[in-house]
């Protein structure tokens, strides 16, 4: 095998692929061949690096140079300058936004500095389509250790001691869950991986599935051994075609090597893994609905107990964990529970992956130790608020989570503190909002989502979310009353307490937390008929300042409903009755004469 002196890693996660990394990869292949470097420089397709907004991302080792926004046109320069002559292509390096400093190395970028990558250890570092690369990074060593030297009870004990809790959102201790399934009676047992990631703005699980599929396969095989199962399912939404493709490749490779299937590594233990594609219903992330969907029935939840550990898939004992939880298992087994338990807080151990989105300078995928503060995440990793505007709130846990305000910035990020503040850890969506965001509008947005995704089986969720949404709509139109606020709060509480499954039980969280921390904004909509953030369309209007108007007519020409009139001699005016408040005029006016009031 020839020695490769340098490795060019082109990100082929969904984000970078969308911004054209496929063409970049092709350009590298052609350029390297042209220069005769293809025998000494290895070209690798990897999973997500997390900094998707800077994509397509190319990392060159051994230096670890981090190039952002690479286009096929840049490729000849990188090959000639960096790979041939050893000079970094400075203009493509990552730039620190404040100091405008170029940062040559991957590990020095602030976005990565504070991260602690366990789940994402291989994402962006290995070629997910080559099992050998996973093996070269201690892959399948944990499985080998378990099969050759540990009893199932010992594996469970180790996971229990590590303090790992379910990363899907609820935070149930993983080891305990395994123990229930292990002790359940039955000759046939199943393990399931919940990869039905549905929160708006969340892409943690997708990145792990795409970037390091073998870590999930290994984790699940270890889990199956611990509970005594020989068959498993990965339930992945069909909207993740790349994740499914890479999983299929990974499963086939693991089977070929005898790391999956019958008599794994000659140990006598057998485990078969299937992929089940979901149709993208949010409720199918709920475990009982998920199992119904795997069985081919309509994805609807059912009351628990019986819990899946006793009666799950086809009535057999079943253990369900989320993608991130499974990916944590191999390193815990390999490095020991003490190593893992040393990270995090007293009750929340290890790390958590978050999808950081919204109004921050660096959006992307991050993995941080539990117990980090929201301030560190938003202002250090995220680089602060976009356009240096004021911070207003952060929504954690997606549509099931809550909105936290400035007072929570120094709150420790762990299961208990977040629940105490009315939010949840959730699967890891973090949406940052700036001062221009209307909190009534935010609550409405998330509730619209959960209301639409409600499966309709139980009354509180089906009817309750609908009524709550109607009230929110009225408030955002300026038609609400203070009485409505009390009614809304009461109804939200009721839906939370009486719904059948997690969807309904958490759907009111965005409403309840915004009411709790931003009540004054609701009151402004109701009492003053005013939207403080100028976001609720019904409560704003656009006017043209005649003093500043230079009568150029650009606004009138761009108005889609032609409701602006005027000419060279008379300042332009907007006909308020016909205006649809699209905001085009404010965007096109070169003299800033249009105002939003």
């Amino acid at each position: 095998m020839p020695i490769y002196r340098a490795h060019v890693l082109v990100c082929r996660g969904t984000g970078c692929t969308a911004s054209g990394s496929g063409e970049v990869f092709k350009a590298f292949r052609e350029e390297l061949a042209k220069k005769g470097l293809d025998k000494e420089i290895m070209l690798v397709e990897t999973g997500c690096h997390g900094m998707c907004e800077m994509g397509p991302i190319v990392v060159v080792y051994p230096e670890g140079a981090f190039y952002c926004g690479v286009t096929p046109k840049d490729v000849p320069e990188i090959v000639e300058e960096h790979l041939y002559k050893g000079r970094l292509v400075k203009r493509l390096l990552y730039t620190m936004p404040e100091e405008m400093l170029k940062v040559p190395h991957y590990k020095d970028i602030p976005f990565y500095k504070k991260q602690h990558r366990i789940v994402l250890r291989n994402c962006g570092f290995i070629d997910p389509d080559r099992i050998e690369e996973y093996i070269s990074r201690d892959g399948y060593q944990a499985l080998a250790k378990v099969l050759t030297s540990m009893k199932p009870e010992e594996v469970i004990e180790e996971v229990k001691k590590s303090g790992l809790r379910g990363r899907g959102g609820a935070g149930f201790p993983t080891g305990l869950k395994w123990e229930f399934a292990h002790k359940a009676r039955g000759d046939k047992k199943y393990v399931v991986c919940n990869a039905d990631e549905g929160d708006p703005g969340a892409f943690m699980d997708r990145s792990v599935l795409e970037g390091d599929p073998h870590s999930i396969i290994e984790g699940m095989t270890i889990g199956a051994y611990a509970i005594g199962s020989d068959e498993g399912y990965i339930y992945c939404r069909a909207e993740y075609p790349l994740a499914i493709k890479r999983l299929r490749t990974a499963i086939a490779q693991a089977e070929e090597y005898g790391l999956l299937g019958d008599d794994i590594m000659g140990s006598g233990f057998s485990f078969h893994l299937h992929i089940k594609e979901g149709a993208g219903a949010f409720v199918c992330g709920e475990e009982t609905a998920l199992m119904a969907s795997v069985e081919g029935r309509r994805g609807m939840p059912r009351p628990r107990p019986p819990f899946p550990a006793n009666s799950g898939l086809w009535g057999k004992p079943t253990n369900i964990n989320n993608v991130e939880t499974w990916a944590n298992v191999p390193p815990i087994v390999l490095n020991g529970s003490d190593w893992y338990a040393a990270l995090g807080t007293a009750k929340s151990k290890g790390t958590k992956v978050f999808a950081l989105t919204g109004k921050v300078k660096h959006t992307g995928l991050i993995e941080v130790p539990m117990g980090i503060t929201m301030r560190e995440i938003i202002f250090e990793l995220g680089g602060g608020i976009l356009g240096d505007k004021g911070f207003k709130a952060v929504q954690i846990g997606g549509p099931s989570g809550g909105c936290l305000s400035e007072q929570h910035l120094d709150l420790s990020v762990d299961y208990e503190s977040l629940t105490g503040a009315g939010a949840i850890m959730g699967s890891g969506g973090l949406v940052v909002m700036d001062e221009d965001t209307c909190m009534v509008d935010v609550a409405k947005f998330f509730l619209e989502f959960t209301q639409r995704e409600s499966c309709g089986k139980c009354g509180p969720c089906r009817e309750g979310t609908k009524q709550m949404l109607l009230m929110l709509n009225a408030i955002s139109r300026g038609e609400g009353t203070l009485e409505d606020l009390d009614k809304l709060e009461k109804l939200a509480q009721m839906v939370k307490e009486m719904s059948l499954c997690g969807l309904g039980q958490t759907a009111p969280n965005p409403v309840l937390t915004t009411l709790r921390y931003f009540r004054h904004e609701y009151e402004a909509h109701i009492l003053e008929k005013r939207c403080p953030a100028k976001a609720c369309v019904a409560l704003i209007h656009y006017t043209i300042d005649p003093e500043r108007c230079r009568k150029c007519g650009i606004c009138a020409r761009n108005c889609p409903v032609e409701c602006i009139s005027g000419d060279r001699n008379t300042p332009y005016v907007i006909d308020q009755d016909r205006c649809i408040k699209c905001g085009t005029c404010i965007e096109v006016c070169p003299f800033h004469a249009v105002e939003k009031i």
């Binding site: 095998m1 490769y4 290895m42 051994p62 000079r87 990074r137 090597y257 590594m265």
Partner: protein, 123 residues
Amino acid sequence: MPKIRNLEDLRKIKESAKDLTAARSGGRTRIIVGMGTCGIAAGAREVMTAILAELEKRGVKDVAVETTGCIGMCQFEPLVDVIRPGEPRITYGNVSPEDVPRIIAEHLINGNVVTDKVIGRTD
């Protein structure tokens, strides 16, 4: 593809796969070849090819072979630096492809600096 039957099989695959990802982690012996215009004109490219061929011949995998731009000592090009972990950086000057096997065998593998070619040493 042979089935993995035991720990030993897995270890073997890991060993042979090591250089797949090894170049992506630091902390190993580094060889740095000067690839400025001066270096290339003096034959640095041929030296680079000789280094890669020698490493492959000897099956040495844990080495990072890097390139760098002109550092100003153009009359001594081709320049080759060897840095073993925890040891000073040794700079060899006027390196020809014929010198390469000696530098790799004596310095890189056995740890004995090839003194007659050394022009610099940085701690």
